[in-house]
Symmetry: C2
Subunit: 161 residues, 2 copies
DNA sequence: TCTAATAATGGGACTCAGTCTCGGAAACAG
DNA sequence: CTGTTTCCGAGACTGAGTCCCATTATTAGA
């Protein structure tokens, strides 16, 4: 449940500029949208949101922007078991979190846990290979859904919150 | 790393039969192939392998079979950051493992770790929601790749081992 | 054994996320 | 201002996965 970090957008612009990237309208729109968002967005969400704001951006440009941002570690790509990938700003400080997805309503929530991080760090050392990154995804039933539908059949299509 | 469990195929057939599923050729082929396989397979791999054995099965039937198997918890679906999902037999005893994927060559390896499982179990309790399942994916560089290409640019297309 | 009911199959059209291409527009250096 | 280079957008394309439906196979029950 990361509160959107207002400085992330600036930071992202700076990093790209220092890396010699020119400043183009499309990428800026994507960065600004991500900076204002608390939750992970899919490429599709981004396209829709920008179009709704009257700032339509070509699909290719959105994917290009996301690729560059991932490359510089400015955003993180999430696979949440849905068809599309989601993207969310990465905290410059290296502090990161993981996600729980509700199997009933598709609600995506974030959490962080030092014990889990510590366990993974130790594990990496034990495996004897260098671990750059890791993902943890928990699947369960959120409290609202647990109360609402005790034994419902899980829906095939989850909706993003 | 998992040695294929010869009894898994029988177990899968039994579970489906007891659940009232009729026995059709296509699903049996998929189950038998998965039972003989040590590593996770994509739907595409399954289609290719069956065709190569002269036991071609319609694509729709493969996906149907996989859906049913996932539904009964007989196989596990893996998202490994690639385009396609992979599937592997789930151990009936509930014992499971996670994966490390090499960012250079795409090699997929399995590991299990009691400490990690314990940390996740405690975490679930702390979050106050019921957790059915979890995935952990580590990304890093395997030993061969670490020795071979110290600072190569990671390839865009990973190949399944 | 025969039959009816119903589940499973397969081919192929379809969907949809993501990629590629290429001509044109914008940004920066000089 | 001008040339170079990067960036952009539209749309064609790819490929995984889904859907549909006529046909085939399985199984229970007569």
């Amino acid at each position: 449940m990361s509160i959107p970090d207002p400085s992330w957008g600036t930071h992202a612009h700076t990093v790209l500029e220092e890396a010699g990237h020119r400043r183009g309208g499309a990428r800026d729109e994507v960065i600004d949208l991500l900076a204002s968002q608390a939750c992970a967005l899919s490429a599709q969400d981004i396209e829709t949101a920008l179009r709704a704001q009257g700032r339509a951006v070509g699909r290719a440009s959105i994917y290009r922007a996301l690729d560059v941002l991932v490359e510089y570690g400015l955003i993180k790509r999430l696979e949440v078991g849905r068809a599309e990938a989601c993207y969310e700003p990465a905290n410059p400080g290296g502090h990161h979190h993981h996600h729980v997805v509700c199997e009933v309503c598709g609600e995506l929530a974030a959490f962080d846990d030092r014990e889990l991080e510590a366990a993974i760090a130790r594990l990496g050392a034990r495996l004897g290979m260098h671990i750059d990154d890791h993902d943890v995804l928990l699947r369960g039933t959120c409290r609202e859904c647990a109360g609402r539908v005790p034994t419902a059949t899980p829906p095939q299509h989850l909706h993003q919150h």
